[in-house]
Every structure is written in C-alpha cells, then in structure tokens.
C-alpha cells in the first residue's frame, strides 16, 4: 500500500483499514508513503521497493497521477497487480483497476448542495476557496473544479484553479489541508471580501480552521462551509453545524476492496472489474448534511457517523 | 634570588598531549609573590600550553598545581579568575561586538542594587562604565572617548590595552600575559611594559611570556626558560646575559647546574 503521505488522517485510516483486512484474510501488507503531498519520487521509490520485494500487488493513491504512470507500468511489466485507490491515474487504464472516490463528483455534490441551499442568493454569492497547496495536485483541482461545476460556475480550464472569471469567486487561498492553514487562509479571504457567504474547503481540517477564523469575527452563522472527506471529526462537525455539508468518501472500503482484489489475483489471477459504465470501481461518495436539499441525495449525520472513518 | 618566601603557585610534572603532539612534557613551574617571572622559549616550546594549564583554559593530562600550597584543579578559566588569576591570552579573548565596558566585566557583571538587581538581575550599566573608565584612566593607558563603543572599532594597540587593563584591574593573586606586545608598535609596547611595572608595584606577581629579550631583561626578576615542553632552567637576569639566555633557550649551550636546580 502506497499512500500520498502518512500524516494525513485520511491515508492513515486507509492504512488501518488495509492492515485490518489483510490480517483477516491472511495477506502480508507493507505500507509506504511519500514524504509530503506532491512527493512523486517517494512514491516511485516505493513502487520499486515493492518490485524488489516481490510483491503480488500494489495499492496506490497517486500524488501525481500522470507522473507516476511510468513507474506503475514497470511494476505491471514485472507481473505486479497495480490498483489505484482514491484517485484515478491519468490515463485511468494505466492501473489494473481503480477503487476510487470520484473527487470531481465529491466537489460537484457539495457545490450543488450549496447552490440549492442558498436558493436565490446563489446568484450573488461570495465564494471563498480554501485550496491545498501552491503546486495544485490533482485532488485539489478536481474537488475545487467539481464544486464550481455543481455551483454552476464556468470552469474555463478544468485542469486549472483560478482561471475562472465568474465574479462570485472572490477569493482563492491555500490551506495546506490543515487547521492552521485553513484559519489563516480564511482570515485573508475575509479581508479581501468581508461579505463571503460560501466557503469551499479542500478537506475537513481546513474547514475547522476556517470556522475558527469566522467565529473570531462572529460570522460563523452567516457562512455556509462545505467540505470533502467524511472523517469522523468532520461528520461530527457537520452535526454541530460547523460544516454545512461534506462529501463522504470511504477509504476503509477502498482499502479492503483493494486487498481482497489482490488476494483474488494472487490466488486465481483474476483481475477486478470496474463499475458498470465507469472506467473505475466507484467506492462511492455520499453527501452528508442535516439540512438536505431538494433533488440531491444525502444522508444525515447519524448515518454518516456510522460510516465514517477516523 | 629571593626565595625565602613560599611560592604562591607551583606546578609539578604537568603533561598535556594534543593528539600525537606532547605540548607539555613533565613541566614544572614556580611563581613567587610580588615578582615578575618571564617565560621564554622557542616557538612551539609549550609556553602557551603551560600558562593555559595554569589558568584553567586547558586541563592538563597529568601533574599537580598548587595555589598557596593548596592543590587546585580548575575546570574553566572562570574558576581560575575567581581564584584571582587573570590572564591576557595570546589571542586577546575579547568579544569584538561587545563594548569595552561589557568586555571588561564579562563573567563578573555588576548588578543593580535592591529589587532590580536581586530579582530582575538587571545590570548596572552606569556603575560598570564608570569603573571601566576609572580603571583605564588610572592605568593611564588610553584616551578613549566612548567606553561603550564596540571593541571591534578599536585599533590593535587599543585592544591590547583593554585586555591588559582588564587583567590588571581584576587580578588579585597574579596576572599572566602571553606575548602582550607581539603585535604592538614601539610606543604601544612601551606603555604595556610600564603597565606591567605598575602592576608589580601594587604587589601582584606577573608571568610574562615574550620573545623580546631586551624587554624581558628589562623587567623580569627571574626568567623561566622553556624548551621542548619542559622547564629547562630558571635564571636571574642580573647574573646572566641575553646571549646566555638565548643560548640556553635554543639549545646552543647547556645551562649550569645551579640554574637547573632553581
């Protein structure tokens, strides 16, 4: 199992899920990770280690989905089953299979929820974006752009953040995906435009940070925060009204499915099939909110808590 | 030689090795009250190592040092200073960016009286500056306008003056000077020599390391000749000539028995 980092709770949970499953069905599992978001070389080295180690299969959450492809090809040439978790590779068929959240879809869900919740006010919303890091890795772009699509904003180049011309996008800032970054980014955006009423955040820690910043100026009630991930602290935050809605993903499911697939491959040589109509096996994303909006499927936080990770 | 008195400081059998070099090889040393003892020797004979061992700057590997008859083992220059031994090192040991006053009182700062000093440990700048200025003028060493200027702005001669003044001002048992005039001009060297004689008049014994024979013979009461890491002889400058001293020091002539025993 190769994750992007082993400091982000999302990947930590994924690792835990994988280890649990591996123990259950008797698979020997080793975990690797990049040093930080964007550490492609670290992941390449990890794939190579797996080849050297004689691994049967690799589960990978690629940090740079295009750049990792040659290394993945090497592994597959060496007879290793490679399954992409969480994010698809570019092209998607570079991996034997993908068990992933559709990050774009995750963004779209919260985007349309926000639009529906605001109703008429959506037309002159003031939206702030708490993105990830300056180098704009693919999750960052997909979630951000998905949100815009859901909200009905013209994307311009869907591979780039910040090239949109819609006046409702008042601020993009970087949160590093953690509380401190979310806090500072939110403060900065509020300075830029104090009338912000919608905040998109890359993940729930950033959302928690943004909330703190809003609370400091007494605006926490006027602003809709949406996020992605569905970790337990995040879902609790939805329940407490800190976050309006979040798109829940299922790292544990991805990991255990992946482990099972590898076991199956090792035992019988059978490769997993993608979900019908998609080029990957969708582990699903679900919108979690206690204020469901018409026309958008969602579950409430109680159900969400039951399925949350971490 | 007036050796009726007990020596104030004695060292016996000092050994100091640096890696594969033996800088001190069973060196002995005696200093008597109120005298100026010159230490002479070739480059690398171990003179600086000897006085560093005495002043606590290095810890000898072997040997014993006694101050007033009591064995001592300084672990740092600080301890030697607290025992009243002040040293002017060959490389001066001043902090360039600190002021003259700060340098003079480094490690023995004066604190404000009362609450500020006791509890807040506040320095008494005015008091230190006043005392520093007093010392410098008393020693007639310099005409420095600004006692709070950084040492790095001073000329070599002035810096040497500060170092010597510091040692002279605070030494209560003895003052050691390692080549204090090496980099100085004729006039500046003269001032330092006069200062040494001044200090002696105040009753303090002085150890003077120097390569300048006329200076040594002018001020020294006894001359310790160091050679190959050990004390070769001690001579009285009134009984021997500079030629003799140089001959002993460089190995051109063997010193007489009497001097060896000294």
């Amino acid at each position: 199992l190769i994750t992007k980092t082993d400091t982000n709770p999302f990947f930590v949970k994924m690792k835990e899920g994988a280890s649990a499953k591996a123990k259950e069905i008797g698979v020997d599992l080793k975990s690797y990770a990049g040093k930080a978001e964007g550490d492609n070389e670290g992941q390449v080295a990890a794939i190579e280690s797996c080849i050297a180690d004689g691994a049967k299969g690799i589960l990978i959450t690629a940090t740079d989905t295009a750049a990792i492809v040659p290394a993945v090809k090497k592994a597959r040439d060496a007879g290793v089953l490679v399954i992409a978790l969480d994010t698809q590779l570019e092209p998607a068929d570079a991996a034997d299979a993908t068990f992933a959240t559709d990050n774009f879809k995750a963004g779209e869900l919260i985007g349309s929820w926000a639009k529906a919740t605001l109703g008429d006010k959506a037309k002159d919303a003031h939206i702030a974006y708490m993105d990830l890091i300056a180098s704009q890795p693919s999750v960052d772009v997909q979630r951000d752009q998905g949100f815009m699509k859901g909200f009905g904003i013209d994307l311009a180049d869907p591979k780039k953040i910040g090239d949109e011309t819609d006046a409702r996008n008042v601020c993009h800032d970087l949160s590093s995906g953690n509380e401190d970054g979310g806090h500072t980014a939110m403060e900065n955006c509020l300075q830029k435009d104090p009338d912000i009423n919608v905040v998109y955040t890359i993940n729930e820690p950033a959302a928690a940070g943004a909330y703190q910043a809003l609370k400091a100026v007494g605006k926490e009630k006027d602003v809709l925060i949406v996020s992605v991930d569905g970790g337990c602290p995040g879902v609790k935050n939805v329940a407490e009204g800190v976050i309006g809605a979040t798109s829940q993903q299922y790292p544990l499911l991805m990991a255990s499915l992946g482990i099972e697939a590898i076991k199956a491959f090792a035992d019988s040589g059978k490769k997993p099939e993608p979900s019908p109509g998609l080029n990957f096996y969708n582990t699903g994303v679900t919108l979690i909110t206690d204020k469901p909006a018409a026309g958008i499927d969602s579950i409430d936080t109680k159900a969400g808590l039951a399925k949350c990770w971490g | 030689m007036t050796q009726a008195q007990e020596p104030i400081l004695t060292a016996r059998g000092l050994v100091k090795r640096y890696g594969r070099v033996t800088a001190l090889d069973n060196a002995d040393f005696d200093l008597y009250p109120g005298e100026i003892l010159a230490v002479i020797g070739d480059n690398g004979a171990g003179k600086s190592s000897l006085i560093k061992a005495i002043s606590g700057a290095v810890t000898p590997d072997e040997g014993e040092i006694r101050l007033d008859g009591k064995p001592i083992a300084f672990k740092s220059p600080m301890e030697a200073r607290e025992a009243g031994i002040e040293t002017v090192y060959q490389n001066l040991a001043l902090s360039p960016a600190l002021s003259i006053a700060d340098n003079m009182f480094l490690g023995r700062e004066i604190r404000k009286p009362g609450f500020l000093g006791e509890w807040l440990r506040m320095l008494d700048r005015p008091a230190m500056e006043k005392r520093a200025r007093d010392k410098l003028t008393e020693l007639g060493l310099m005409t420095i306008q600004n006692i709070s200027q950084a040492v790095e702005t001073l000329s070599g001669g002035q810096r040497q003056g500060v170092a010597v003044a510091r040692a002279a001002a605070f030494g209560s048992k003895m003052v050691i000077m390692d080549e204090p005039t090496a980099a100085l001009g004729v006039k500046e060297s003269r001032r330092v020599l006069e200062l040494i004689l001044d200090v002696k008049k105040r009753g303090l014994p002085i150890v003077l390391i120097s390569h300048n024979m006329p200076h040594v013979f002018e001020v020294a009461d006894r001359i310790h000749i160091h050679r190959l890491g050990r004390r070769l002889a001690v001579i009285d400058p009134k009984q021997y000539t500079m030629s003799d001293a140089v001959a002993f020091m460089t190995g051109a002539k063997a010193p007489p028995e009497a001097a060896l025993a000294a």
Partner: protein
C-alpha cells in the same frame, strides 16, 4: 660570565625618546559626512531600525495600493494574530542564531509539544494544567537533547537539528497516530489549552491573548538580552566562542541553556498554536523552521552570530505577514506571494549589508 651591555637594564636607548612622543590617539581627518552617510551611520547604530523602516514602508505601500481594507485597525491586528506563532518561534530562533547556531527542529518541537498537551488532556484524563506542564517538559527535553549534542558532543547545530528535526517529527506522527483533536472536544474537556485563542477588542482592533503572549515574551527576551549578564553572554558566545570561554563565560552551559530554553519557548508556542487553530493537529507547523529563520534574517540578525535583536525578528515576522496579506488583498496569486517573500529576504539582507559596509 662575560660582561655585556645587554644585561638586565632599563629601557633600550631608542625607547627613551618615547617620553616626548605625541600622546594623542592617532586620529585621521574624518572627511565630512554627507547626509546619506549620517543616516547610514544612525541606522547602523540601532540594528532593528532597518526592518522597522521596511515594515513601515510596506504598510504604507499596501495602504496606498489596497486602501482602507488593508489600513484598518482590524486588518493590522489580524496580521499580528497571523504572525504571533512565527514571532514566538522567531524569538527562540533569534536566541539560537545569536549564539551562531541554527535550529531546524523548532517546528517539530512545537507541534510535538502541542500534541502531547492534547493527548494528555484528552486521553489520559489528567487535568489540563498538568497536561500543559507535561507538554512544556517535552519541549524542554527536546531542546535539551539538541543542546547536549551541540554543547557537549560539539556537533554543528545545523547537522544536529537537521537530524532531530526528522526524529521529533517522526515521533510526533508515530505518537499521535495522526489524530486531530477537535476544537469542540477541547472546549468541553480542556478549555485551558485554548486559552490563548481568547481575544478582546479595542475599537476595531482585535487582540488575542496569543498576540499579547508574543509581545510579552518579546519584551522579556529583549530585557534579558540587553539588561542581564546572561543576555550579554549570549552575544559573547556567538561573537567568538573561544574568546568568551577564555574571558569567563561557560560556553557549553550557555549553549545548553539556550537550546533548552528554545525548546521551552517552542512548547509555549505550541500551546498558543492550539489557541490559534482551536484544535490539536499533528500536521501543523511544518514550515515553522523556515518561517522563523526568514523572520530572523529579515530582522537583521546575522547568521554568523553575535549581532542582532529580538525586535528585529518581530519586525521581520510582521513584514512577511504584511506582504502575505497585502498581496492577497491586492489580488495576486499565492505563488506570487511566495515569489515576493523570496525577493524580500534578499533585498532586506542586501540593504542591511550595504548599510554595514558603508557606515563601518
């Protein structure tokens, strides 16, 4: 014995003439100073002046470019809040840099301490004050280990803290299991940990207790550095450690104390960090070493030790904060902010150097 003229005697012949010599200190005709030169001279005297001026200029710049949104009490105090953590760590880093050292592990120590505080308070059920004390102790121990390796084993600070940076960061992740402790949970169970997040207002200006803490810490550090013997010794050690040792400063003890104190200050910053972000996150503070060094450097403290000031560091941190927020309000991309902070470092140090050179 042969009788020679060179036997013990008074001064040599040629030295006798010195009595009549010129007693004035050699003084050269100091060519008259231009106004520019005398400004430089004055700037040279007080090292924190350059960063202060750059700070004021950048505030004025953004006040003009961005307008009222930037130049309001609220925004200006917001910058203070944003730089409070970097300011505190910067104070610690300044102490280290003044001794001619560097500490790359400050961020890791800060986060590890905050995580320990959170874990103790939430999971081991100890009272919050005890948890805080344990966190401070952890910071002190981390700093102490750095200090031992640097002062006793005598390894270069850059290398020691490069190593311990990895080590402390790894321990942080292993120990915390990457678990974030949520703000709401802290609020109910251990509000003391969030103490420095509280704030009060004066007009439009908002001051968090964290900001006050930073200002108080800066004031204390300034006092200690300038008005106590210990502070003077910090400068002496950085200036020339050998000279300091020979003139009676216990250099290894000083270094040990400075690194240990740095660890404690970082732990306090870790506590303040909990207040700022509300929650306890093992992922925070990854860039605090670079940020604090940047503040120290822009603040005019020399990386070679012995020269610099706490005030400069605080101004340095504020300059970066002003630029980051100002550029954001002006509408530039975050990447341009990164670029301009890079340029700022070089320009600030360049100006400082230029002043030093010309006005020696």
């Amino acid at each position: 014995m042969s009788v020679e003229t060179t036997k013990a005697s008074g001064p040599q012949e040629f030295e006798k003439t010195l009595a009549a010599s010129d007693t004035s200190v050699a003084s050269f005709d100091t060519h008259s100073r231009t106004p520019l030169e005398s400004i430089q001279h004055r700037l040279h005297k007080s090292p924190a002046m350059v960063p202060l001026i750059i700070l004021l200029l950048s505030v004025i710049l953004f006040a003009i470019v961005v307008g009222g949104r930037f130049f309001s009490p609220f925004t200006l105090t917001l910058i203070l809040q944003q730089v409070a953590i970097t300011g505190m760590v910067g104070i610690a880093q300044t102490l280290v840099v003044l001794t001619a050292g560097i500490d790359l592990s400050v961020g890791a120590i800060m986060v590890l301490s905050s995580v320990v505080m959170g874990q103790f308070a939430m999971h081991y059920g100890v009272p919050a004050p005890v948890a805080v004390a344990v966190g401070l102790l952890v910071g002190a121990v981390c700093g102490f280990i750095n200090g031992i390796l640097i002062a006793r084993v005598k390894l270069p600070p850059f290398i020691v803290t490069l190593g311990t940076w990895s080590i402390y960061a790894a321990i942080n992740f292993i120990y915390s299991g990457n678990e974030t402790i949520r703000s709401q949970d802290l609020e109910t169970n251990a509000p003391l940990l969030q103490f420095f997040g509280n704030s009060f207002k004066i007009g439009g200006a908002v001051f968090t207790y964290g900001v006050l803490l930073m200002l108080i810490m800066a004031a204390i550090a300034w006092y200690v550095l300038n008005h106590t013997a210990w502070g003077r010794h910090v400068y002496a050690v950085g200036d020339d450690p050998e000279a300091a040792e020979l003139s009676g400063v216990r250099v290894d003890r000083m270094l040990l104390a400075v690194y240990t104190l740095t660890g404690i200050i970082c732990a306090i910053a870790g506590w303040a960090l909990i207040g700022r972000i509300g929650s306890v996150s093992p992922q925070a503070g990854q860039f605090e070493n670079i940020n604090s060094i940047t503040a120290v450097v822009i603040g005019g403290t020399s990386l070679f030790g012995g020269r610099g000031s706490i005030l400069g560091t605080i101004f340095g941190a504020l300059i970066v904060g002003v630029f980051a927020l100002g550029l954001r309000l002006w509408g530039t991309d975050p990447q341009w902010t990164q670029l301009s902070v890079g340029a700022l470092i070089i320009v600030a140090v360049g100006i400082d150097q230029w002043i030093r050179k010309i006005s020696a």
